[in-house]
C-alpha cells in the first residue's frame, strides 16, 4: 500500500469536499480519479449488500478497500490491507484502504472494543473473497478454461497457457453484485458471498510485519490532523463552560466582545459559544465575554469522600454475572475469610490536544470533519441536533489528537454543528486545554470488594468479587444521540443514564464463585464534567487492578506462589499456556510472597504477576518495579507480556501496540486521578493531571507473542492495558510488603503507606 497515495487521497478528498458541498456519491469519483482509475458513473448506492461498497479495482489494477472503521495509529488499516491482498491475490502494495468516511464506507462501528480486525475484517475478507471468485469466473469464460484450472497470482489469472488481468476484467467498472448482509450495523456488521475465504495456511501477506501508512506523513509534517482542516468561509468557534458545573447562562453582554472582528455570540438553550473570523480573536472573545451564570448549587462531594459516596449511594443497577455453587453456604463453612477493598479514581482521556471539529451546516445538509473514532455515529448525532435526515450528513474522520474511546471529539462536533447552523458558515471548534481535561467524559470511579473463604487445608472454597461505581455508559459508547454530548444536553436533549459496569475476565474455577457489579447515579445528569463513559479498556484497569491484586492476596494468605496459585485454578488451556510462557520467559522464581524481593539502599525491588482476558485475547504479565522508600516513587521498570490474540496479522505492529498499552496503563496506575472540588473538575492541565513522563518510562517491554494461525484474529488494541495496574500493585507489594489498594500509586500515597 502506498503511503503517499493514501495521504494524497485524503487531502484531495478534503479539497474536493471542502470547496463545495457534494452529494455522498461524488467523492467516490474524486477518489477514483485520484487513483488513476476512471470509474464510470453509476456506482450502486453505498450499502452493505453491494460488493462495490467494499472493494474496487481500478483501471490500473490497483485495489481500493472501503473500511468502515478507522485506525488510531496502530496499523489496523495495514492489517485490513494485508487481509484484502491475501483474499484477492494481489500484492499488498497495490491495495489502498479508505476508512472512516461515512460517505465512502459502511458503518462498521468505528474503533470500538478492539474489534478493528476481530470483527472489522470479516466483511472485507468475505467481500474480497467474493470479488476474487467473480473475477475467476469471468476469467474462466474469457479464457475458455474451467475456473478450477485457473490460477491467480498478483492480480493475474492464468489458465490453459493464457492470461488475463483483474484490470482487464473489471478495471474501472463496478461489480454490480449483491452480498448477503446480516442486517446489523456497527461492530457486528458482516456480509457474505458464495466464496469461501482462504484458510490460514494459504496466507502470504497476513503474518508479515508491514510498516504503517501514516508514519511518514506525521514525521515529515505533511499530513493533516483534524485540527488542520480549513474550509472556505470557515469561522473559529469556542464554547464557554461554566465555573460551577450545572450553571447555565442567564444573561450575556455581547458588547463585551465588540473589539474582536466579526465576533458573535451563539446561544441556543443553555449552550453558549462565540465565533470570530480569526482563531486568536475567538479565544480572546471567549475569555472576555461577560456572562451571568445561574446560581447552581455546588453539587460534587469533597474529593476525599468520593469512595464513601460510592459505598453509600443507592444502587441504581445490581447485576450478578457469575454464580457458581452455593457461595453463601461455602462462606459460612470456611475456616477463614480473606477480604479486601480497592479503589480507583475518575480518569480523563486527557488527549494530546483538546478535541477539534469542523462542521459545515447548510440548509438541508451538512459535512462534519471529526477526530472521533466513530465518525458514522457522530454524523448521526449531528443530523439529530441539526434536525436533518441522517443520510444528509456526511462525517469524515481525520486523525485527531489521540483517541482512546468516547473522548471529547464527538462533543466538539456537536458544538461546531450548533454554531455553524446558527451563523450559516462552516465553524471550526477546538477547546482550550482546561476544556479537554476538565470536560471530557471520564473513566468511572469505583470501589471493588474481594472475599474468599479458605478451608482448613488452604483450599479456596468460596470466592466473591463485587464492584460498585459510576456507570461506564452514563455517556453512551458513541455519539449517535445528542443527549450523550454536552451541546446536545445544553440545547435540550435530556440524557438518560444507561447503566453498565463489568466483572473480572479470567477462567479461575473456584469451588463456588460469584461476581457482579452495582452502579450508582451520576453526580450531575446534565452536562457534567464528571460524566462517565468509555476510556480505553472500559472499566478493565480498575476491575483487574482489584481482582488480580486480590488473587495475590489469597495466594499470600495460603502461602502459595502467585503463578502456581493461578495455574492451580485457571481452567482455559490458552490462559494456562500464556501464563506459563510469560513466567518462563521472565524466569519467574517460584515461591511465596517475599521470594522475588531485593533491596539496596533506598531502592526496594520486587516483581509481580497478573493475568486477564478480553473478548478472546489472553494477556499475562510479569512486572519488575523499583520503589524508593524515601520518596515513595515507583518505577515500573521491566515488563514481560505474554499475548495471545489468535492469528497474528502483523507482528511488528502488535508489539508496538502492546508497548503503547503498557505505558498508558502504567501511567494510569501510577499517576492519573481526576481531581475536583464542590464546583467542578480541578485537574485542568498537565500539572494537575500528570501522566507518565520520559524519565519514568519502563526500561523494557518484552513481548511473548503466541500465534494461533488456526484461530480467527482477536483484538489487541486494549487487552494489554487490562492487567498492568494489578501487576504493578503486586510488584509493589512484593518489593515493600505493603499492599496498595487505592490507585493511582503516587509517590505521596506509597510513601504514606510505607510509613
Amino acid at each position: 500500500m502506498n503511503a503517499i497515495n493514501l495521504s494524497l487521497s485524503r487531502r484531495q478528498l478534503l479539497q474536493s469536499t471542502g470547496a463545495l458541498i457534494v452529494t455522498t456519491a461524488a467523492p467516490v469519483e474524486a477518489l477514483a480519479q485520484l487513483a488513476g482509475s476512471a470509474v464510470p458513473a453509476g456506482k450502486p448506492p453505498l450499502h452493505p449488500t453491494e460488493l462495490d461498497s467494499w472493494v474496487a479495482v481500478g483501471a490500473d489494477g490497483n485495489v481500493t478497500a472501503f473500511f468502515g472503521k478507522m485506525d488510531m495509529g496502530q496499523g489496523v488499516d495495514v492489517a485490513i490491507g494485508q487481509i484484502v491482498a491475501d483474499e484477492l491475490d494481489v500484492p499488498y502494495g497495490r491495495v489502498t484502504v479508505v476508512m472512516g468516511d461515512s460517505g465512502l464506507t459502511c458503518n462498521q462501528g468505528g474503533a470500538s472494543g478492539s474489534t478493528g480486525i476481530q470483527t472489522g475484517a470479516n466483511a472485507l475478507r468475505n467481500a474480497s473473497a467474493e470479488a476474487r471468485r467473480l473475477l475467476l469466473e469471468q476469467a474462466a469464460q474469457r479464457l475458455g478454461v474451467p475456473a478450477e484450472q485457473c490460477q491467480v497470482a498478483d492480480g493475474v489469472i492464468t489458465g490453459g497457457g493464457k492470461r488475463v488481468t483483474y484490470a482487464e476484467l473489471i478495471g474501472g467498472k463496478y461489480f454490480q453484485h449483491k452480498l448477503e448482509w446480516n442486517n446489523q450495523w456497527g461492530n457486528p456488521l458482516n456480509v457474505t458471498g458464495k466464496a469461501k475465504p482462504k484458510s490460514p495456511d494459504q496466507y502470504k501477506v497476513v503474518g508479515q510485519s508491514i510498516p504503517r501508512n501514516d508514519v511518514a506523513g506525521k514525521v515529515y509534517g505533511t499530513d493533516d490532523f483534524v485540527t488542520d482542516i480549513s474550509v472556505p468561509g470557515m469561522l473559529h468557534g469556542r464554547v464557554i463552560r461554566p465555573e460551577t458545573a450545572g450553571a447555565v447562562p442567564v444573561s450575556v453582554d455581547e458588547s463585551s466582545i465588540r473589539e474582536f472582528k466579526g465576533a458573535r455570540v451563539v446561544r441556543k438553550g443553555d449552550f453558549i459559544g462565540v465565533v470570530a473570523e480569526k482563531e486568536w480573536d475567538a479565544i480572546q472573545a471567549a475569555e472576555k465575554l461577560k456572562i451571568t451564570w445561574s446560581n447552581a448549587p455546588s453539587i460534587f462531594p469533597d474529593q476525599p469522600s468520593i469512595y464513601d459516596h460510592i459505598r453509600k449511594a443507592p444502587v441504581a443497577r445490581h447485576t450478578v454475572e457469575a454464580n457458581v455453587g452455593d457461595v453463601d453456604a461455602a462462606f459460612a463453612g470456611g475456616a477463614r475469610i480473606v477480604e479486601a477493598e480497592y479503589e480507583w479514581p475518575f480518569q480523563s482521556h486527557a488527549c494530546m490536544g483538546p478535541a477539534c471539529a469542523v462542521v459545515d451546516a447548510r440548509p438541508g445538509e451538512a459535512t462534519v470533519w471529526t477526530g472521533s473514532q466513530k465518525p458514522h455515529f457522530v454524523g448521526q448525532g449531528v443530523a439529530k441536533i441539526l434536525d436533518l435526515p441522517a443520510d444528509k450528513v456526511r462525517a469524515i474522520w481525520i486523525m485527531g489528537p489521540g483517541s482512546y474511546g468516547r473522548n471529547d471529539s464527538g462533543d466538539a462536533a456537536h458544538d461546531a454543528a450548533v454554531m455553524s447552523q446558527a451563523v450559516g458558515r462552516p465553524v471550526r471548534v477546538q477547546g482550550a486545554r482546561h476544556e479537554g481535561h476538565g470536560w471530557d467524559p471520564k473513566g468511572p470511579a469505583s470501589v471493588h470488594r474481594g472475599r474468599a473463604a479458605i478451608d482448613a487445608q488452604g483450599n479456596v472454597v468460596a470466592y466473591e468479587f463485587m464492584s460498585k461505581g459510576f456507570s461506564r455508559i452514563d455517556m453512551a459508547t458513541n455519539e449517535s444521540n445528542p443527549s450523550d454530548t454536552l451541546a446536545g444536553m445544553l440545547v435540550g436533549f435530556p440524557n438518560a443514564t444507561q447503566h453498565g459496569f463489568g466483572v473480572p475476565a479470567e477462567s479461575y474455577a473456584f469451588a463456588t464463585k460469584r461476581t457482579g457489579w452495582e452502579t450508582i447515579a451520576p453526580l450531575l445528569t446534565k452536562a457534567s464534567p464528571l460524566r462517565t463513559g468509555h476510556l480505553r479498556d472500559p472499566v478493565g484497569p480498575q476491575i483487574h487492578f482489584a481482582s488480580e491484586s486480590f488473587i495475590d492476596e489469597i495466594a499470600t494468605a495460603v502461602g502459595a506462589d502467585p503463578v502456581e496459585f493461578r495455574l492451580r485454578h485457571v481452567k482455559d488451556p490458552r490462559d494456562i499456556e500464556v501464563i506459563k510462557a510469560t513466567a518462563e520467559k521472565a524466569a519467574w522464581k517460584a515461591g511465596p510472597a517475599g521470594t522475588r524481593r531485593t533491596a539496596s539502599g533506598d531502592t526496594l525491588a520486587g516483581r509481580g504477576f497478573a493475568y486477564s482476558t478480553r473478548n478472546g485475547t489472553v494477556v499475562a504479565v510479569v512486572c519488575d518495579v523499583e520503589v524508593n522508600r524515601r520518596t515513595g516513587a515507583v518505577w515500573a521498570r521491566r515488563f514481560v507480556v505474554g499475548h495471545d490474540c489468535g492469528i497474528i496479522v502483523n507482528p511488528a505492529a502488535l508489539r508496538l501496540c502492546i508497548e503503547g498499552n503498557v505505558v498508558q496503563a502504567v501511567s494510569r496506575a501510577l499517576w492519573e486521578e481526576v481531581t475536583f472540588d464542590n464546583k467542578s473538575v480541578t485537574s485542568n492541565d498537565w500539572l494537575s493531571y500528570p501522566i507518565l513522563d520520559m524519565t519514568e518510562a519502563p526500561e523494557s517491554v518484552e513481548c511473548v507473542l503466541i500465534n494461533r494461525p488456526a484461530m480467527n484474529p482477536r483484538g489487541a488494541g486494549e487487552p494489554s492495558t487490562r492487567p498492568m495496574a494489578g501487576a504493578v500493585a503486586n510488584a509493589i507489594f512484593e518489593a515493600t510488603g505493603v499492599r496498595i489498594r487505592r490507585a493511582p500509586f503516587t509517590p505521596d500515597r506509597v510513601k504514606a503507606a510505607l510509613a
Partner: protein, 154 residues
Amino acid sequence: MTQRISLSVNGRVQTIDADPDMPLLYALRNDLGLSNPHFGCGLAQCGACTVHIDGEPVRSCVTPVSAADGVQITTLAGLGTPEKPHPVQKAYVDEQVPQCGYCVNGWIMTAAAFLKKTPKPTDGQIREALSGLKCRCGTHLAILRAVKRAAAIG
C-alpha cells in the same frame, strides 16, 4: 492593535499584520498555513507547538509573535523531508514511532536540538532532555529507540 511583523520560516520571509501579543503558534498555523506546530495545551506544558528559533526549541504557544520578528524559525517540515530527512525523522520512520502522532512535532524538534548539543547521549541524558514532553499514546519506548538510533546514524 495590530503590528506589522516579518516572519522568516524555513528560509522564507513573510509579513503579517497581527496582534503583537498573539502567540506565534497562531501566526504560523493560521496566517502562514504552516500546521506542523500543534495546539496541545497553550501552557508550555506539552511541547506539541515546538518550533526552532535560531536553532533552539521554543514553545510557540507561549511565545508572542512580536518576539519572533526577524529571527529564523524552523518547523518540522523545514527540519527535513522524505528526500532529505533529519536523522531523528529517519529514525522515527525506521522505528515506526507515532501512534496518533499529534505529539511527534514536539519530540522530534526537541530531540533534534538536543542531539546537536549532545551527539552521543546516554539513556539517562535522553530521558532527562525529553522529560518536559507529553505523549498520551505512550510511545515512549519507541521514542527512546528512535533517538538512540538517530544518535548512532547522526
